[in-house]
Point group: C2
Chain length 152, copies 2
Amino acid sequence: MNSDSVFWKIADGRLPPPPCAATLGIEFLRVTPESGGIEVKFEATPAFLNLAGHVQGGFLAAMLDDTMGPALVATLQADEFAPTVNLNVQFHRPARVGPLKGIGRVLLRGRQVCQLSGELLQDERLVATGTATAVIRRMGTETAWAATQMPT
Amino acid sequence: MNSDSVFWKIADGRLPPPPCAATLGIEFLRVTPESGGIEVKFEATPAFLNLAGHVQGGFLAAMLDDTMGPALVATLQADEFAPTVNLNVQFHRPARVGPLKGIGRVLLRGRQVCQLSGELLQDERLVATGTATAVIRRMGTETAWAATQMPT
């Protein structure tokens, strides 16, 4: 953990969130890396709806990815990142336009391989659950450059 | 299969795609329900990028969901829909802003339970693969109403 890492600057509001997280309307509610936990808020917009008028499952998967990922990233050093290599999502009930809450947890914090889990709720009811595997990498020059070029 | 279903009207361009698909920049390249196959094009925008400057995995999952789902929906009657109950995605390499191609297939077309698979490519290279389980339901009054209220 490094409070000067990009993650903490974003969680503290010193930097804007990356575009994907902004698109999902992210807001950090609670980050406790000691216990490997995180709580975030998302905002489902009409742009995420499918033919049935519900939030498309893939956008719920994107929210879970942006719940589980940060739970791990909160524990990383400034020059590390951790791409998700596998994401598995179960859908419990339809979600509609409006706020959702994501709860993420690091189940296994290996030196490289990490196992994560997440829950997504709307009105305190479970909408989707997920697990993910992420692998910690040291950020190369190219990736670090990309991060500085990212639109905000 | 019913060529007057909402799906076919969208695939033919007679109706606009649902908001989630429009957000992902969907375009139907090939639909062959007889063989259970579909090819679609997506457009990754800067709004999908993560801290590393790559398309966030969840948005790739959303594209795979919108590849596998339509492969099945192409075979449905007008009053049926098929929510995804499980989505499993493997990430192979980073994707960047620009076009991606989705190839979806119905592996099992049960009367209710269906098993689907999908691939996502960028510049002819595999970016992500996925499997999904969907369950066919008859559209109730409430869902049919939601479909008519959907923003376009």
